[in-house]
Amino acid sequence: MLYLSHVLGAKVLDSADHVVGVLQDLAISHKVGEYAPVRFLVVKPVRAKKDVFIPYEYVDDFSKDEVSLTTSLKKVEFEKHISNRFVFLDKDVLDQQIVDVSGIRVVRVNDLRMGKVNGKMCVLGIDISTKGLLRRLKIEWMDFFNWFSVDMIDWRKAQPLRRELKLSMSSNDLDRLHPADLANIIEDLNVQHGGRLVQSLDVKDAAKVLEEIEPKLQKILVKYLGPDKASDILSQMSVDEVADLMKSLPREEAKVFLSHLRGSKMKNVEKLLIYPDDTAGGLMTLDFMKVSPETTVKQAMEEIRRHSSKHRSVLYIYIIDEDEKFKGVVSLRSLIVASAEKKMCDLTNEDDFHKNSTLKVEDDVDEIMEVMTKYDLFTAAVLDESGKLLGIVSIDDVMRHLVPNA
């Protein structure tokens, strides 16, 4: 079995078995989802100061014991510089953090497993084990009881983070991760890597992930991305999450971020900004389905079909009149069982809508919980003094407030 640590620092021999230099590094070309082939040897020639890049085609033998060339060094057409498309295994990958997609965690690269695929020398796997660590330190003999086993991640399943990383949720294994898991991974990374990972995602996914990240890191990430890049992601996030984030920023900065958002989004966020965090106003979202009292069940269901993708979840349909006054609420269940021609206002009854089952903007978390528990609500309507429907508080917003670190 060949590992990178076996060949780094090895003497490079020419066809006449003369030592021509020392192997410093290997350059690979990286493509997502494939074993990466070695393209160049980075060699420090004897009696020369600068490293040269020898194309892998000149390699005769590449093994644990020796690295030899098919010809003499003079005949090699080596390069003085190579493009930075290539990834250097020692400089860019070894010792760095990588995302282990299958284990949902961030690990460090202790060593790299090399081997031939279709006749080409490739990077096959990433050794993240303590055994790999001992091998790097050249004290593998210490493990004489064989306590440690090799723990390898398939190269194709891992995402190196130091170089610009290109991954999109659709073409990559990362898409199998739940946004909350991905958020945990980003929390483990430093800000540059985490920021790059967020940017590499499709904006919709990035928004979901950003919502799940803990608030203080959210703030840092958004600032790291800057208003231009962040605004794309922010505009995909739900309004109440953006409002919470803006509240945590200094006023001037929040203004800059807000000014980069679309007009309607900005107005909605600003509406929420005035309420303190731990009140119904601060916790509520503007993301809910609303219909007029005269709407029929059939029309309401069509409405849901048409706008479903815009909403995080649809559990209740809220009924408001032309003055946006709250007129009642219909659960999805009663909507489904009702006959198609019935009017929405006829569906609200005492069970679904009770005068006390609504919230006022200034209600605190205890009051919100009392109302939601008493009336068994998943979402509760927030009204102003005149009875206008301002937004809704959902049970997970309350949960997030109570258990902020989950």
Partner: protein
């Protein structure tokens, strides 16, 4: 009316929370330097050499402020712990070396903490064979079952006990003029005992673990480069506050013990320095302070060590990982608690010597850690525009060279005496 008061209260609350938001890393990290090893070393410095070493303390205050500020800055820019950056910048071999040195230094300090527990219970007549295992179990229990952060805060509040030294200092009415003169006149004796105490004085104030601790603290706290100015002030403040306390411990012991020629052989001797303030209760007061300080260190150090090593080697860490995934994390914590306990339990071992010598180990290993810190903080590819200025580099280099020279002279003079 009620509304207005409520509003006001809200505003006050927010201001207070904001204040707490920035305070923490600098003050806590610096305050934790006054642990068992710290109090004992400062007491020994005062009792054995009077105020002669105060000039070292003055220099060390600057050095502490500068080195801690560097740790904060690296943390704010990279948002990563020191262990991780060392691994990514210097590769696995040097990382293994630094981590090994840190482990040794930290084990030394934990040993000092348990020696502190033993000594404080010794004062009230409880055997160390009872006190130390119970203390270890308690640390264990809190770390694995309870809230590390809350306990840390409780002990931190207790550690403000050192204010008694400041009050005590004024009651004794020591020779402040002499103290001030000594603070600016370097005097040095080329004897092993003087040098060993001097290195301990440096090593107890600026510590390898302190560098790791403050950096991961600012990262955990979610601070970033925007908080730099506030953090800098906080770090400087922390350095000054702890060393004001150190100053008063030294002049208290100098005015009481040095004057009458008492050498500190056990913690009871050091406690005598508090007699002007507390009379007969001095021993209890000292025992309580020493115990609290020891426990604070005993909580922080094993955990800090485990976090740093796991970060460097990519092992999973944190108390929310289960045993099989976090086996290295938990093993390191266990070893850094158990081994030091066993050392302290060796019959007839001198507790005061443990507490001072462990600070020497810290002092001797410190230059190596600082060299890495300096290399990182002057690296433009890591720090960008936040690399070190001339003065920070100067102070750091003087600290490094000062300790190395003192160590070399110490080793040479020990050979000379032995020969």
């Amino acid at each position: 009316m009620v509304e207005a008061i409520k509003k006001r209260w809200q505003i006050l609350k927010y201001k207070f929370i904001f204040f707490l938001g920035v305070v923490g890393p600098g003050i806590i990290s610096a305050n934790a330097d006054n642990d068992a090893g710290g109090i004992t070393t400062y007491s020994v410095v005062g009792a054995h050499f009077g105020t002669k070493m105060l000039w070292v303390l003055l220099l060390v205050t600057f050095a502490l402020a500068v080195t801690q500020e560097m740790g904060v800055r690296i943390g704010l820019v990279t948002r990563q712990g020191l262990g991780g950056i060392i691994r990514e910048t210097f590769g696995v071999k040097l990382t293994a070396l630094v981590m090994f040195l840190m482990l040794i230094a930290n084990m030394g300090t934990v040993t000092a903490e348990f020696a502190g527990v033993a000594a404080s219970f010794g004062i009230i007549g409880v055997s160390k064979y009872v006190a130390v295992p119970i203390a270890a179990l308690f640390v264990f229990f809190v770390l694995f079952k309870g809230s590390f952060k809350t306990t840390q805060k409780i002990f931190l509040v207790f550690s403000f006990f050192y204010i008694v030294y400041i009050i005590n200092g004024f009651i004794i009415g020591p020779d402040f003029g002499q103290a001030m003169t000594d603070m600016v006149t370097p005097t040095i004796e080329f004897t092993p005992i003087f040098l060993i105490t001097m290195i301990a004085l440096i090593g107890t104030t600026i510590t390898p673990w302190g560098q790791f601790f403050i950096q991961s603290y600012v990262v955990d706290k979610g601070l970033d480069i925007q908080h730099y100015k506030a953090e800098k002030v906080e770090v400087y403040l922390g350095a000054i506050i702890t060393n004001v306390v150190s100053f008063f411990i030294i002049i208290s012991t100098a005015a009481t013990l040095y004057k009458v020629g008492i050498h500190i052989a056990d913690a009871g001797d050091a406690a005598a320095a508090l007699e002007p303030l507390a009379g007969h209760l001095a021993h209890f007061l000292f025992a309580f302070g020493l115990f609290v300080a020891s426990m604070l260190g005993a909580f922080i150090l094993p955990t800090a060590t485990a976090y740093a090593i796991c970060e460097a080697f990519g092992w999973e860490d944190g108390f929310d990982t289960d045993w099989s995934r976090g086996k290295y994390f938990y093993s390191i914590i266990l070893i850094t608690i158990i081994l030091p306990c066993l050392i302290v339990l060796i019959p007839k071992i001198s507790l005061v010597s443990i507490m001072v010598l462990s600070q020497d180990i810290n002092g001797i290993l410190l230059p190596f850690v600082l060299l890495f810190v300096l290399k990182i903080i002057n690296d433009k590819s890591i720090m960008g525009e936040y690399t070190n200025g001339f003065w920070s580099n100067l102070v750091a280099w003087i600290t490094i060279i000062g300790i190395i020279v003192a160590t070399v002279v110490l080793v040479a003079s020990s050979f000379f005496i032995l020969g």
